[in-house]
């Protein structure tokens, strides 16, 4: 039973436009939400996070939105750049847990 779902395996956008990556979850016990980016042949790198007490967190071109009532998390990248082409994973933590639960990832391609 998947607790964390990234329903779009892939996404293609034009350079300069907005990229929106989505993540849905089923368990309301999750209280901390992270996004990771992964290039081929490298490990995932932490991008941005948000706690359940907020609904938005911004870091440069990256903004994460949290809709707790809908159990929905999204990552906005604007403007998108070709170097943003990577696989993006959402990762969630249940309150008090030592572990993260990862989604299956969305492959973003930003076309020049």
């Amino acid at each position: 039973d998947q607790q964390v779902k990234q329903n779009s395996p892939s996404l293609s956008v034009q350079e300069g436009r907005i990229s929106i990556l989505n993540c849905d979850y089923t368990n309301s016990m999750f209280d901390y939400f992270l996004w990771y980016k992964k290039y081929p042949a490298e490990g995932p790198t932490f991008l941005i996070s948000i706690s359940s007490i907020k609904d938005k967190n911004e870091d440069g071109r990256f903004t994460v939105f949290l809709n707790k009532s809908a159990k929905h998390l999204s990552l906005h990248i604007v403007p998108s750049q070709p170097g943003d082409s990577a696989v993006y994973f959402c990762a969630l933590r249940k309150g008090g847990s030592e572990k993260l639960v990862f989604g299956k990832g969305t492959k973003l391609t930003v076309n020049p």
């Binding site: 490298e42 490990g43 993260l100 989604g103 299956k104």
Partner: protein, 112 residues
């Protein structure tokens, strides 16, 4: 600044052979994790450790053993390799449980 280093980067084994994957971190992190990544499956937690001398099971622990004799090292062992263990293995570390994890670049393991 090495961060998290995984050894080896690639390995091919025959069914039934054993091997140990080494993870070393130089950030003085308490928490360490082993994941496997399979196509379309995201990252799945195998085992983790909350400090030197401790280990705990993750989501997919069967067929693997781990040891954390030193704080900076986390070893993942396969006693009798099976083709189903063909995967990319990632090690990660964190200051606290559930916080952003720092990943190594992975070990690509093929079992014939």
């Amino acid at each position: 600044n090495a961060g998290v280093t995984q050894t080896p980067k690639f390995r091919v084994l025959k069914t039934g052979q054993s091997m140990t994957l080494l993870c070393a971190q130089d950030m003085n992190h308490e928490y360490m994790y082993w994941y496997r990544q399979d196509p379309g499956m995201g990252l799945r937690l195998i085992h983790y450790s909350v400090g030197e001398g401790t280990t705990a099971k993750g989501e997919v622990p069967d067929g693997y053993n781990v040891s954390r004799l030193k704080k900076q090292n986390f070893l993942l062992g396969l006693e009798s390799a099976a083709p189903s263990q063909t995967s990319v293995y990632f090690c990660a570390s964190a200051t606290q449980g559930g916080q952003p994890q720092h990943f190594g670049d992975g070990t690509r393991l093929s079992i014939l």
